[in-house]
Amino acid sequence: MFLKKLGLVLIAVTIPVLYITSGQLNSSVADLGKILVNLFHPTFELDAIVERVILLIRIPRALTAMICGAGLAACGCALQGVFANPLIGPQIIGVYSGAAFGGALGILISENSFLTLSLAFLFGLIAMILVFVVARVQGYTSRLTLVLAGIVSSSFFLALVSMVKFIADPDDKLPAITYWLMGSFATASYAKIQLVGPLILIALLALIILGYRIDVLNLGDDHAKSLGLNVERNRWSVLGLVTVICAGVVSVAGVVGWVGLVVPHIARNFSKSNHFSLLTVSAFIGAYYMMIIDYLCRGLSSMEIPLGVITALIGAPFFAYLLRRRLES
């Protein structure tokens, strides 16, 4: 038992260290060590280039990947619980498309990446408010209407994204927008982490704490109501937290799908079935999953492969396998 825990801790530390010390520029664990020491008290002589690459490129990117991965995985897990459907991911509720539009708009109208980030976040929230307004009838939102309203909201904002691409300058804005829509951690920075990180982490924590209530919601609306839970309020609280996390992720990383769908299923094999445990384990696995995938994006070749592409290439076949397993049982 102790060995198992030790093994886990070792893995948990090794993966980020490997990530931070690997890349197109040669660097070693010793370099990382020296850099970290220097942060507290300048002692070592360092190659300026290696220092900057590790401190300003790889570490922010690692942190961003972990935070986003944890957030998305927890979102997927929470949604699967609330909808009592294992085939649901965060894309279904409309946040993604809204945030995608906000980001595309930001790139179109300005050079300021913080404006882009804010617009992405804002429109992610607006998309969710649209879903709220459309799906809620006489103070009640059924799960089916939620999904349908999510589709409506998504389609609307995706159309707006096409509109933005339509009027974008093909020489510089359009390629930037297209690339952003495919998702990437390439523009990760401490400033962005400071802005969006705490938001995502606090929402993530709240989601985990709500795990117990998600278990109750999972029983079905009537049953949950019978056990004394205000179904509407609790469901919308979960959705609200999911919205905040997803909008935050899209605003710093563009559109990254298939993580919320895939990771909770991996987590199921390593966790107890109650949602408090499931959400926690999903978050951890999500963080490392994203980090490994991001390494593939930046380290496989000199090219930066878009994140959304790799998550889809891995996620879609896995999803197909899940679907088959479900149909067969």
């Binding site: 520029l25 050079e111 093909p170 510089d172 990437s184 523009t187 930046r298 090219m303």
Partner: protein, 350 residues
């Protein structure tokens, strides 16, 4: 008898004025009358057209972004009438999808359209009975092709000859100089920089002229334009960095003062330069490309490449646009102010 003679003469007259040209898709287009009205959908085509015709008189419709590229700059000042031409026959952005009725309303004798962006934007025009010439601008070969097409259409074959000869001569001279270079330098071009980093790989025109002047393109490991991480750029550590002329307000400072790039050799040596913009941007292939080659050669290997660039610009502009370029124009074209802080720029091109 007289009637027969006149008829025969008229017949020969029409034959003589009949024009035929093969476009870049291999299609043959026949014109019964001389081409007087031209609509251009590709963004750089009007500039090319003006350089062959020496005037903008025959242009009746251009893309919106052609006008934004010309406004406030050399060619826009020279041919301000272009800025007033209608553009609503095609969308404002990356679609190039023509509104066929809008095009027909302009009564063009010829329409220029991209040949390599799909039939959906091409066929509606030919289906409407218009004369459409396909244009592609990917490499040096393409440039020679559209010079041929446009000069044939305009009956300016001798102009075309001059332009092609100039390119040939310059290329020869540059190659000769490049052959003498012993120690090659890395030259990296940023097609995009502001939102994400995009570089020019193997097969791009930038790759072509980097090699022409004797440089090495570190991004040649992959084909075409592609995105990279800042780390990859640092790993390549280029000797010379070229900033594109497409992104507005992009300047060498963006690279030199970048938190990560500022410690690379190019930033420390300030060998970062912004691509000039003359009749069109010097980045992609166009009628002024020989100037690009000379410019880059001088910046990369000043000991091997030495050309009277300012005089060359003046001379070629006289040939192309039939105009005298002033020194102030040259300063603007070469972006003297923007590149002032970069190594050797002011000295080389004064």
């Amino acid at each position: 008898m007289r009637i027969l003679l006149i008829t025969i003469c008229m017949f020969w007259a029409t034959l003589a004025s009949a024009l035929e040209v093969v476009d870049q898709k291999g299609r043959t287009i026949q014109f019964e009358n001389p081409v007087e009205r031209v609509v251009s959908i590709p963004i750089p085509a009007p500039s090319m057209f003006i350089s062959i015709d020496g005037s903008a008189d025959k242009l009746v419709g251009v893309h919106q972004l052609t006008k934004t590229a010309m406004k406030g700059r050399f060619l826009g000042r020279l041919f301000p009438e272009v800025l007033q031409l209608p553009s609503d026959f095609v969308g404002g952005g990356f679609n190039f999808m023509p509104n066929v009725e809008g095009v027909l309303a302009l009564k063009p004798d010829l329409v220029f359209q991209w040949g390599n962006y799909g039939d959906e934007i091409f066929d509606p025009l030919t289906n409407a009975g218009l004369n459409v010439a396909a244009i592609m601008i990917r490499n040096e070969q393409d440039t020679r092709e559209w010079i041929r097409i446009m000069s044939t259409v305009l009956g300016k074959e001798d102009k075309a000859l001059k332009m092609v000869n100039w390119r040939e001569q310059t290329m020869k001279e540059v190659k000769t100089n490049s052959a003498k270079i012993q120690k090659k330098k890395n030259v990296l071009y940023f097609r995009l920089f502001k939102n994400n980093l995009q570089v020019a790989g193997k097969g791009t025109y930038n790759d072509f002229y980097i090699n022409l002047i004797g440089g090495i393109n570190p991004a040649a490991g992959n084909k075409g334009f592609y995105n990279v991480t800042p780390e990859q750029v640092v790993a390549w550590n280029p000797d010379i960095v070229l900033m594109n002329g497409f992104e507005p307000k992009l300047s060498p400072k963006d690279y030199i003062e970048h938190p990560v790039f500022s410690v690379t050799d190019a930033a420390l040596n300030k060998t970062v330069y912004s691509m000039p913009l003359g009749g069109y941007r010097w980045d992609p292939p166009n009628q002024e490309s020989p100037l690009t080659w000379m410019w880059l050669g001088m910046l990369t290997y000043p000991e091997h490449h030495s050309y009277p660039l300012r005089d060359e610009i003046k001379r070629s502009y006289k040939m192309l646009y039939e105009t005298d370029a002033a020194d102030s124009d040259l300063n603007e074209i070469l972006k003297m102010k923007m590149n002032a802080g970069s190594k050797g720029y002011t000295n080389l091109f004064k």
